[in-house]
């Protein structure tokens, strides 16, 4: 007997451990590849960056080259497209090439990229070797100024690159700096000055251009950062603050000094970037993430690929096992007896829909009216099945009555009546009445209070948005709950209420 108990527990414990392992691995997998999180974040930000190239054709065959964002793990590209009628589109690794026959009228072409999931990068791009250092061509006087600038910079804090950046950005500007570069220089000019200065110190550096994602941004110039090759790695710096690392909102389009776009067969060309932010359901994005991670099959067979209404139904179902666990704990570990095993759970489910106080007050109203009517019914001495059927019909009538009252008096508490399960409510009324008749009002009240108490506890577990999100997003947890419930099926210790019930026996032993 004991042997058998041990082996059952052993098997179940192994099952529990395996299910925890499985849930853990699966949770890691979902977070890593599908972008799930423990927090109930329902929306994912999707950034749309649009490059608009405009030019006047010269009459030659046209070729427009626009740089694409460099593929990286920091951003995932949801979609990419071009709006350029009658152009032939060719995508290379880092460029979009649009070609067409000669045109006569003003031309507008668009390249659009949708991105999401920018995560902090460490700002270090490993690179096997540095670019060749291109020393700037400077006059002797300019070289002297540059050396002076470097000399001043070396007295500042930070590493070699930061020292230069800090100096160039000082306000009011240092005199030597004023001599070296114009006061109102563009970002690009500043970046170039930094690169030139670093070249003199034999540090290889390059320009990094891209777009800083900001809502409703429109700009003709890309944002600029610089990268320096230090300790066999490319390190990225902000050219204004000298801060190291790639900001989470910065999308790199191009490294090096090449132009961001190039038009052949056109003149007066310009490029304009605009940025837009939109929000999408995280679960919808999961499919795309899975596709990027080559995990499409497993995603296809998960619940998140189902139609939305089925997903919503499942989301509701996924909370049941947890509620059941609460019921099992209440009965077998705490030892509270309730009317019907799962009745409190169903009441709790209703409370979630009605809201706590409204639901509780309304439920009390229904039960109160029901028991009063049932007391009248019992005088008629009806047979069991017709009697409980009559109670069911009365419950429906009460709900209808409350719904109408609630609507007309604008009293939402009454309106929530419709959310309670009819049959369960009828049985509660029936049992309460029988208990009342046989064992007195006190016992009947006690039973109802215990049932509602368990319902309230269950309610607070399942109403939590985090818990509901986690039970849906990481549905393998239900397997863990299954084994916990089965293990509780072998629990032979005392119930908490028994510690009170049998207290006189323990005291005697002392």
């Amino acid at each position: 007997m004991l042997q058998k108990l041990k082996s059952v527990r052993f098997v179940l414990t192994i099952g529990l451990v395996l299910s925890i392992l499985f849930a853990g691995i699966s949770a890691y997998y979902k977070i890593r590849y599908w972008g799930f999180s423990f927090a109930p974040k329902k929306k994912t930000a999707v950034w749309t960056v649009e490059a608009h190239v405009a030019f006047e054709p010269t009459g030659d065959p046209i070729k427009v080259v626009i740089t694409r964002p460099t593929p990286s793990k920091d951003f995932k590209v949801l979609d990419e497209d071009t709006v350029a009628p009658k152009y032939t589109v060719n995508m290379t690794k880092d460029k979009v090439v649009l070609t067409t026959k000669p045109k006569t009228k003003h031309q507008d072409v668009y390249y659009r990229v949708l991105m999401y999931d920018n995560v902090d990068s460490n700002g270090k791009t490993p690179a096997a070797r540095a670019d060749k250092i291109v020393r700037p061509v400077l006059s002797e006087q300019e070289t002297n100024v540059a050396m002076e600038v470097l000399e001043t910079a070396s007295k500042l804090e930070g590493d070699a690159v930061q020292q230069v950046i800090f100096l160039l950005n000082q306000t009011p500007p240092d005199q030597t700096v004023q001599a070296f570069m114009p006061e109102r220089s563009t970002n690009k000019e500043t970046a170039q000055a930094i690169i030139d200065l670093l070249a003199l110190k034999n540090v290889s550096a390059r320009m990094v251009r891209g777009i800083k994602l900001q809502e409703e941004k429109k700009t003709f110039v890309p944002d600029v950062m610089i990268e320096a090759y230090i300790d066999k790695m490319w390190k990225i710096y902000d050219i204004k603050t000298g801060k190291k690392g790639l900001p989470s909102s910065f999308v790199v389009f191009q490294r090096g000094a090449d132009s961001m776009f190039d038009v052949t067969g056109g003149e007066n060309s310009s490029i304009k970037y605009s940025v837009m932010k939109s929000l999408r359901s995280s679960f919808k994005m999961a499919g795309h993430r899975a596709k990027l991670a080559n995990q499409q099959t497993s995603f296809g067979y998960s619940i998140y690929n189902l139609p939305v209404n089925q997903q919503n139904a499942l989301k509701w179902l996924m909370i049941f096992p947890l509620a059941i666990l609460v019921v099992v704990l209440m009965r077998n570990v705490i030892g509270i007896s309730t009317m019907g095993t799962f009745t409190p759970m169903l009441i709790a489910m209703s409370l979630v829909e009605t809201g706590f106080w409204a639901g509780l007050v309304c439920f009390a109203l229904i039960i109160g009216m029901g028991v009063a009517i049932r007391a009248g019914l019992s005088k008629l001495n009806l047979l069991l099945v017709p009697r409980i059927s009559a109670v069911v019909i009365f419950v429906i009538l009460i709900m209808q009555f409350l719904a109408i009252i609630g609507y007309n008096w604008n009293w939402s508490i009454a309106s929530s009546a419709l959310f309670f399960p009819i049959i369960i409510t009828a049985w509660i009324i029936e049992r309460a009445s029988i208990t009342w008749e046989e064992e007195g009002a006190k016992n009947a009240m006690k039973q109802i209070v215990y049932s509602v108490l368990v319902a309230i506890i269950t309610y607070f577990v399942i109403v939590n948005e985090y818990i509901r999100h986690i039970m849906f997003a990481f549905d393998e947890l239900n397997l863990v709950i299954l084994f916990v419930v089965m293990l509780l099926g072998t629990y032979t210790g005392y119930r908490v209420t028994e510690l009170m019930r049998f207290a006189p026996l323990a005291k005697k032993e002392k």
Partner: protein, 319 residues
């Protein structure tokens, strides 16, 4: 409520006292000793009675069984020739749905608690039994009509109305613990402990009272009759135990509770057997049952017949 919380004891204290908890009862005792397929033998009082008669256990004599609604009308014909009778559901539990008629005419029926019912009310009661109002799980049921027990004067001072009965727990064929349940005014003449009846722990070897409780608290005197409960001695004790022990042979249930009443004329009679007897008996006896059951399982001889088991228990207990 809070007072009760304060009275909570540590689990280790209960374990030391050998108290059997509900989970352990279900898992270690009932599930291991009582085969599910044997339950109908005790859940259906008609079957139980048949088996009991076969093996020679005294039970209240069966008058008749009403199985279908259109036979309800014939109950008066069935009881013809009997001065009093009892109507009970075959699948009832805890005394629910039991109607004791001690005097009647064609129109009026006087119950044990002196309530006067008319024909319709009795008819209705039988209908309710058939529709499953009192049966386990609300299944359709049959109504059993049987002879009334003539409650022995022996216990007159110990019970307020109602019939006191003896509950004996039989474990693997050996009587393990016993108690007597005495109705009180508060319990409304019923012998249910949770309704306020008095539970008296009875010594297995002698049939004498060892402790008594009402509402979980020790009592010395019956609250209504003021009789000294410690003077209680169950007469025909060996015969009581014999019925209980035979219950094991007749059903094969390793853990059962036998409810026995003492009839003035026919001696101890078995009222019913229970495959899931409760744990309140421990409180009435003032001691845990787990040790007792474990001792029986580990140290008592196997393969004895009921006579030998009875001798063994009474001798062992005497020593």
């Amino acid at each position: 409520m809070f007072e009760r919380l304060k009275s909570m004891v540590r689990p280790s204290a209960l374990r030391a006292a050998g108290v059997l908890g509900m989970n352990a009862r279900n898992y270690d005792i009932i599930a291991q000793n009582n085969q599910r397929s044997l339950y109908p033998l005790v859940d259906d009082k008609v079957q139980t009675k048949g088996l009991a008669n076969k093996i020679g256990i005294n039970t209240p004599r069966l008058i008749g069984v009403i199985e279908v609604q259109n036979k309800v009308d014939s109950f008066l014909e069935l009881v013809k020739g009997f001065d009093e009778f009892v109507i009970k559901p075959a699948h009832g539990s805890g005394g629910k749905g039991v109607l004791v008629i001690k005097k009647y005419t064609d129109k009026e029926f006087v119950t044990a608690s002196e309530k006067v019912l008319n024909y319709n009310e009795v008819y209705q009661h039988i209908s309710n039994i058939l529709s499953g109002l009192y049966s386990l799980g609300g299944r359709y049921d049959v109504a059993v009509l049987e002879e009334m027990v003539h409650f022995s004067n022996q216990f007159q001072d110990y019970s307020f109305q109602g019939i006191p009965d003896v509950r004996v727990i039989v474990y693997q064929g050996f009587p393990a613990m016993a108690m007597m349940r005495l109705a009180t005014r508060e319990s409304g003449g019923r012998a249910n402990l949770h309704q306020g009846a008095v539970g008296v722990g009875i010594d297995i070897k002698t049939g004498k009272a060892i402790a008594a409780v009402q509402h979980n608290r020790p009592v010395k005197f019956h609250p209504d009759t003021k009789a000294d409960l410690m003077n209680l001695q169950v007469p025909f004790w060996r015969e009581h135990l014999e019925i209980a022990v035979k219950g094991y042979d007749m059903t094969g249930l390793g853990y059962l509770g036998a409810d026995i009443v003492l009839d003035k004329f026919r001696g101890p009679m078995m009222l019913e057997l229970n495959a899931r007897p409760g744990l309140a008996i421990q409180i009435a006896n003032g001691r845990g049952m787990r040790d007792v059951l474990e001792n029986i399982k580990n140290n008592y001889p196997k393969g004895l017949n009921f006579e030998q088991r009875l001798d063994y228990v009474l001798d062992v207990a005497k020593a």
